[in-house]
Symmetry: C2
Subunit: 393 residues, 2 copies
């Protein structure tokens, strides 16, 4: 058959996400390639109790159709937490529930991007965003990322010259680099955006996973109507329930609603109710403390090995939270080659390549430290050492 | 703020779905406008048991990320049911799980439609499809629908002259008309498509709701590689869980996977597991018999009132299943006027207008008969009678 596929489909980058998920599950492989929360930190009992309560108290409502905007008590909880934790002034009418924050990437690009329009992103940037955005056939414009966040000179230049409808970034514990924007960078972004018609789309999937438990002031606090945020329960409660959200000004929410309704009517109502019930009945902060103390320890182990075992062979970022760090490779070693060689040693790492909207990423690899325990991290890093040595490094 | 929204957003028809959902829930209003399954037919206890089993036996897996394709045992169940019930030859690798079959509308349009491309549809056609497709800026080409299904002469003309990438239709108990394609029409569609590069996208959301419990041979059986189907558990188990699927040839599935992954990574895994468990532990056929006997009785009551009370004032279709019928209005009465007048009498009906990709629908209204019990149907129809009389009919 000669199916008539749309031009946008040939614009899709080769998908790494699916491949890395299947690699992660290959028996015997220690995977630093995925982005999975640690399975033993999922509160199965707590969520089960919440589910039972929902079925008993409001089962037939939870199983029925609902409205596109999302469950109001859940949106109120999210707004309230933003306001208390980050000093924002969010209303529940500015919050919408989506199927995991990945859906925000699709819908935000959908409402803002005509073919050929410019989308701004970090370099390197989140690969799931590159995939989602690519289907809207944009011209990507990237801004370099260092330990302080995006380069604000480059960013200002981009906003002035290309006037993108939005710039997408992850200011906290970025994926893939683990880097965090300094407060100065955040403030400067707000200043640059003032008076422009560019929106800073701040993906805060990892913000709650600060090792020091201190909230960072979001870019949104400096950007006002030029800022939107997305968030997710995937990293702090359970990814399998696919509950994320967007927080945006009313005018954007109105367009977002049209796109969300056309996309799938509404998000899973049963899980929205279970999540809301869980949040009422449990202490989220205490749960997050448990997660961050484990991830922080795992990150520390990985960093120590980086410094001891790999010394001058690999450079690395120093995450203050989240689930990832980025390592730089010595000259002459391709991340794609190391990926294959490491896999032969039964350890999976992710080449930087899919994190670049243009070319790049041959000289770095992403490490996930949330999903392997400390023993596995040690063993995995030893295997990586063997892979590097086999490449003469 | 002067946000830079994409051109496609101005292509969006005025949304009726959201409005009718809010109308449906206004106290005192009897609604024939929505498309909700009857709440008292939801098997809350059965789904609760399934949920408890999932949490107990495989909770941490169900709460974790999974792959884009969907839960394999659920896909196997769907393929198996297609093969046993409809005599198809589906494999689980041709089935993908989505967030309710509305998501298929979005993703199918996404993989097939460049701006200006032709999309074929029934006239009248499903409003959720018009909304989803509109965001891909197509040129709609519609084919008239009568009691035998789409007009195959018009359809052949469309396929030959416009060569659309796909034609979207609902052969069983169509939304909004309640009409069902004859077997002759289905066969003819298969013949017309042979050798063409047009796909018939067969939305079978209602196929299980045949009042006579007899399966109709799907268009897919005649169209082969030119056929794709979508289905849903929303009408037979629970819409709030948002579990639907697509069944398509491998080459389409491959593109679909890319689009689905970019859209939201994967569908809610917890609910996929709960659904699969529910299907293993319960007799779906017996549950469906219960639903169809209720809907069939409600449809009968509505049809009798149509014939007795409205006689020569309203014409109507004669559904063999599903949840909807379409009524034709007398000359000079606008469906939009009747909609407003009926609402003043505390009964909601849906004007035909949003079911037309071009103009149309001022002379008909859609009735839902699944969500109001027989007493409510009687009362609601009396209120409608009052509304009609107030318009001099």
């Amino acid at each position: 058959m000669n199916y008539q596929f749309a031009a946008r489909m040939s614009n899709m980058p080769e998908s790494f996400i699916e491949r890395l998920f299947s690699l992660s599950s290959k028996p015997g492989v220690i995977s630093f390639a995925g982005g999975l929360p640690s399975a033993d930190l999922l509160d199965v009992e707590g969520l089960k109790s919440a589910a039972v309560s929902v079925f008993e108290d409001e089962g037939s409502e939870a199983l029925q159709y609902t409205t596109t905007d999302g469950y109001l008590p859940l949106r109120e909880y999210i707004a309230d937490r933003y306001n208390k934790r980050l000093g924002l002034n969010a209303g529940s009418d500015e919050i919408r529930i989506v199927n995991g924050s990945q859906q925000c990437l699709d819908l935000v690009a959908k409402i803002f991007t005509d073919p050929g329009d410019c989308i701004g992103m970090e370099r390197p940037g989140y690969l799931g965003a590159i995939e989602a955005f690519s289907l809207y056939e944009p011209e990507f414009a990237t801004v370099g990322l260092s330990d302080d966040g995006i380069d604000t000179v480059e960013f200002e230049d981009l906003v002035c010259k290309k006037n993108p409808a939005f710039f997408y970034g992850i200011p906290n514990f970025q994926n893939p680099s683990g880097r965090t924007y300094s407060q100065e960078t955040r403030k400067k972004i707000g200043e640059i955006l003032e008076g422009s018609s560019t929106v800073f789309y701040e993906d805060d999937a990892f913000g709650e996973l600060a090792f020091d438990r201190k909230p960072r002031i979001p870019v949104k606090a400096f950007a006002g109507e030029n800022g939107i945020m997305s968030g997710s329960f995937s990293k702090i409660i359970a990814p399998g329930m696919r509950i994320g959200w967007i927080y945006a000004p009313a005018e954007i929410i109105s367009q977002f609603d049209s796109a969300k309704q056309a996309a799938d009517l509404h998000s899973n109502f049963l899980c929205q109710k279970i999540m809301a019930r869980y949040l009422w009945d449990n202490d989220l902060d205490s749960h997050i403390r448990k997660i961050t103390s484990v991830y922080s320890a795992r990150c520390r182990v990985m960093l120590d090995i980086m410094d001891d075992l790999f010394m001058d062979r690999l450079t690395h970022t120093n995450p203050e939270g989240g689930m990832f760090m980025l390592a730089g490779l010595p000259a002459g070693i391709s991340s794609l080659t190391l990926f294959e060689r490491a896999l032969a040693e039964n350890v999976a790492v992710l080449p930087g390549v899919p994190f670049y909207a243009g070319s790049g990423g041959l000289d770095n690899i992403r490490f996930n430290f949330s999903n392997a325990d400390e023993e596995m991290i040690k063993t995995g890093m030893e295997r990586l050492d063997a892979a590097l040595r086999s490449l003469g490094v």
